[in-house]
């Protein structure tokens, strides 16, 4: 075990995968000589060379398109899109091609590409370095969508992603790249998909979150405990596949649900969780489900601290939910 930041853990995961499997290729903008703008690929170029750590021209569709071709041929490409906000030129390749290759070929052409991309706000990134658009990808059958919130999960989920047989969108909460540290197992540490993490047990209300919202939910739970409210915190870890069983079981224990994400509220992933709860845990609910989310606006620059959920807004929603019934 080593104490690492989240971004260091991702780097260790990439290093581990490349060391063990020569088919693993990293490609993207500034990932080679420069080691990535967030340093996630630092040292890989020096160790594995320019044939495996490929600095590409500035074209997201080119990055994902070539990664797809590599994967069809049998390699295991890990493509970096420098910010999730810049992924749209590659959207056609991801949604129309990557996600559908296995299906449209009747299973002849699996297409296993991992796309890593930093996402989310809280870094003064403004409109184009802050967005949380995970719902786009959850809405596309054929893609797995993975979001770690701890260094150990970052490495373990990334290694599972690289060894998976399906395309994986691996979204990295850049706000906590360095602010969160934790023990990370050495070697081929893998965290399976589809298993939510019980961060903190509680009996009065369930807080469902992922990515950079997890530390805020934990702080909120601490504050709620001061008020005598026992909050459970569940880290979803993978949105596709979703651990519905854990979500339903939690609400069966607590009877109340607060869903937290920094993405836009309308058609955000929280709506899916709320729908699952209304379908499968309706009779366990003592109060209306609450959502704490970003607003239905483009992402603001100067006032981002007012746009994003905080421990206070999460705790406030939880208190209201507990008071409601």
């Amino acid at each position: 075990m080593t104490e690492l930041t989240l971004v260091q853990a991702i780097n260790r995961g990439l290093h581990q995968a490349m060391k063990e499997d020569e088919d693993v290729i990293v490609l993207g903008e500034d990932v080679g000589v420069n080691g990535g703008v967030f340093r996630a690929t630092e040292g890989l170029y020096k160790e594995f060379g320019g044939d495996r750590v490929i600095d590409t021209p500035l074209s997201e569709t080119g990055i994902v398109g070539t990664a797809i071709g590599m994967a069809l041929y049998g390699l295991k490409p890990v493509a970096e899109i420098q910010f999730l906000d810049f992924i749209y030129p590659a959207f056609d390749q991801i949604v129309s091609e990557l996600a559908k290759f296995r299906y449209r070929s009747g299973g002849q052409y699996p297409c296993h590409v991992v796309i890593r991309s930093p996402y989310g706000g809280g870094i003064k990134g403004g409109l184009y370095h802050s967005q949380s658009t995970e719902a786009f990808f959850c809405h596309t059958p054929g893609l797995k969508v993975v979001i770690p919130s701890t260094p150990a999960d970052a490495k373990g989920l990334l290694l599972s992603a690289i060894h998976d047989d399906d395309p994986v969108m691996f979204l990295e909460p850049k706000r906590i790249y360095r602010s969160v540290t934790g023990e990370v197992p050495e070697g081929d540490h893998r965290v399976p998909f589809g298993h939510a993490r019980l961060v903190r047990e509680g009996s009065d209300v369930s807080l469902f979150a992922y990515g950079a919202m997890i530390p805020l939910a934990e702080t909120a739970a601490e504050a709620l405990a001061q008020d005598g409210i026992s909050a459970e915190v569940i880290d979803l870890r993978t949105l596709v596949p979703l651990d519905e069983a854990a979500i339903v079981a939690s609400v069966e224990r607590t009877g109340r649900a607060v869903i937290v994400h920094e993405a836009v509220r309308t058609a955000g992933f929280g709506a899916e969780i709320a729908a699952v709860l209304s379908e499968k845990a309706f009779y366990s609910l003592k109060a209306p489900i609450a959502r704490v989310t970003g607003y239905d606006t483009p992402f603001p620059y100067a006032l981002e601290h007012l746009y994003l959920p905080t421990a206070e807004t999460i705790a406030h929603a939880a208190r209201s939910t507990v008071r409601a019934g």
């Binding site: 021209p57 080119g62 056609d92 299906y103």
Partner: protein, 367 residues
């Protein structure tokens, strides 16, 4: 109606970039005869499938008449291990690759024998065993994928080329630029084969780009561009064979523009009378590549009218027999549309399958 587009009149590969090797292998008489049979088969499939669509027996069809020589000549210059990244109009390429007529008809019908399991519209096929990657409808996306596959092949030490097929419309797409740019930067063994059939649905070639030729766009990506008469089987074959040798020698990618003419509609959903003059089509049909090759073979003394009539007749019979058998094939199992989303279904998909099966059992859904 606009004036007729100028077509390449000579039958030689014309290198836009003088560094491109002009001379290459020639097809033997036997190879040309085999190519001719394939071109006739393609023409028969095309004519018959347009009718099948009109009769409501298949749902859709993308014809390729007028592009037989370009497709067959190009595919003949490749080896079976080379990877093809087709668009949805590459019938002639598929036939050269050895995809059986029966497999194609199964795909057009979307029946239980369709290798693609009825997932795609007709013509959007792919066959892994033939290194013929499955096509999609978005334009140009296969171009950058072909580049990635070439990078992977090089990494594996495989001496192959990858070849992307696309039309004149695709030269305006994102992935044409991205793919050719990446191929130039990484010097991949990729052949970009553009069949300029003069029309992207209703848009004529000269409205697609102000560029004098499509081939000259290669210069911007640091690769040779070649303009070839796509109605000339031998010229297309020579150009592709030379591009393949360049790729294998480590000299990088090549862009080939094969000038052809789309005789039919873009697809069965399109009426070309709305946007082009019958006279233009009639004029283009005077350069019919199938007829041209037939004339050349007869002139060379290796073919005659009697054999030709027999070939057309046998080919039409073969089509009719194969169609009858394919139409007698059962439909796909109802819940098969839920397969192959992931390697292993997610719990959500399992739940949806259970609900679907229950609704079928209860008669709510009637397959």
């Amino acid at each position: 109606m606009r004036p007729r587009a100028p077509l390449v009149a000579d039958s030689q590969a014309a290198p836009i970039d003088p560094s491109f090797p002009a001379s290459a292998s020639e097809l033997t008489s036997d190879q040309q005869l085999a190519a001719y049979r394939t071109m006739v088969l393609a023409r028969v499939i095309d004519e018959r499938c347009l009718m099948l669509q009109r009769q409501g027996r298949i749902g859709f069809y993308v014809p390729m008449q007028g592009q037989e020589a370009a497709q067959v000549g190009a595919a003949l210059a490749l080896q079976p291990d080379d990877w093809i990244f087709p668009a949805y109009r590459e019938l002639g390429v598929a036939l050269v690759r050895g995809v059986p007529l029966r497999a194609l008809l199964d795909q057009f019908l979307g029946n239980a024998r369709d290798v693609l399991k009825g997932r795609q519209m007709p013509n959007h096929y792919g066959y892994r065993e033939h290194n013929f990657v499955v096509a999609s409808s978005p334009i140009g996306t296969q171009i950058s994928q072909a580049v990635g596959a070439a990078m992977a092949a090089r990494r594996r030490g495989d001496r192959i080329v990858t070849m992307a097929f696309f039309g004149d419309g695709a030269t305006s797409s994102n992935d044409f630029h991205a793919g050719l740019n990446f191929a130039g930067v990484f010097r991949t063994a990729t052949i970009f084969f553009c069949q300029n059939n003069q029309w992207a649905i209703s848009l004529p070639r000269e409205r697609q780009t102000r560029s004098r030729t499509l081939a000259e766009k290669a210069a911007a990506y640091g690769m040779p561009g070649v303009l070839v008469d796509g109605n000339d089987l031998g010229a297309v074959h020579r150009a592709v064979a030379a591009a393949r040798r360049r790729g294998l020698a480590g000299d990088g990618p090549t862009l080939i523009e094969a000038s052809v003419y789309r005789f039919g509609p873009h697809s069965t959903s399109d009426d070309p009378h709305r946007y082009r003059a019958d006279a233009e089509v009639a004029e283009a049909k005077q350069r019919d590549p199938v007829h041209r090759l037939k004339t050349a073979l007869i002139g060379a003394g290796v073919w005659d009218e009697a054999r030709d009539q027999a070939l057309w007749s046998e080919t039409r019979s073969e089509f009719a027999r194969t169609l009858e058998s394919a139409e007698g094939t059962p439909p796909l199992p109802p819940s098969s549309f839920l397969d192959d989303v992931f390697s292993v279904p997610t719990p959500r998909l399992e739940e949806e399958r259970a609900r679907f099966d229950a609704e079928v059992r209860e008669g709510v859904v009637k397959p």
